[in-house]
C-alpha cells in the first residue's frame, strides 16, 4: 500500500485520469472528492466486500432449482 499524507484540499492523482481530493476533515471523518472517468467504478470498501460475499453465497449451478414456499403450502405441483 502506498501511504501519502495530504492536508485539507490537497489531492492525489492516480494514473493520469483519477483524482482523489480531501474536501473536509471533521473529527473521525474525512470527506473525499473523487474525479474519475465514468467507466471506473468507485465503492466504499466494506460495502463492496459485503456485496461480493453475498454474491458468492448466492451463486448456483445451472441445474439447481428454487422453491416458492407458498406454492408448496397450497399443495401445488409436486416435483421429483
Amino acid at each position: 500500500m502506498l501511504v501519502l499524507t495530504r492536508k485539507l484540499n490537497e489531492s492525489v492523482v492516480i494514473a493520469d485520469n483519477i483524482e482523489v481530493k480531501v474536501l473536509e476533515i471533521k473529527g473521525d471523518y474525512v470527506r473525499l472528492g473523487i474525479v474519475a472517468p465514468k467507466e471506473v467504478s468507485i465503492y466504499r470498501q466494506e460495502l463492496y466486500e459485503k456485496i461480493k460475499e453475498i454474491n458468492l453465497v448466492s451463486v448456483k449451478k445451472k441445474e439447481e432449482k428454487i422453491k416458492n414456499p407458498l406454492k408448496s403450502e397450497k399443495g401445488g405441483e409436486n416435483r421429483t
Binding site: 465503492y43 466504499r44 456485496i51 461480493k52 454474491n55 445451472k62
Partner: protein, 147 residues
Amino acid sequence: MVTEKEKYQVLDLKPENIFTFSEGIPGFEQVKRFVILTDPEEAPFGRLSAVDFDLCFFIVNPFLLCPEYAPDIDDGEIEKIGSPKQDQLLILSIVTAGDDPRETTMNLVAPLIINVKDGIGKQLIINNFKEYSPKFKIWDREIKKTE
C-alpha cells in the same frame, strides 16, 4: 436429456439476448455475459445465467415483493449502461436461497440495472443503501398473511 434451451423460455442464444456486464459483478468479475431465463414453474423468480460458465443467479423483480422499494440511483450509473429510457431500464435483485425456502432473501442494497435495449447491465450499490437490507426476507409478509 432435456437441454436448458428446452426447459426455459429462451429463443436461441442470439447475440441480442445476451446481456454484457463489462465488469462482471462483485466476486465474479470475469463473468461478463449473461442471458435472462424464465421458467413459469419457478415464478416469480428468473435466472441470470452465465453464457461462458456453469453458474447462474436467481433474480426477482424487487418491486413485486417490496412495493415501497425506492432505490436512489445516480444518473451517472444510468449513463454507464448507455442511458436507457425509463421503459428500457430493468431493475432486478439477486436472490439468496438456502435450504429453507421461507428464508429466501433478496439484495435491495445492490440491485442489477439492465439496459434491455442495448443489452448492458451492472450491479451497483444504491445511494440510499442505509435504508435497505442486502438480505431482505422476501416471504415474511406473505407468510404472515397466511398465518
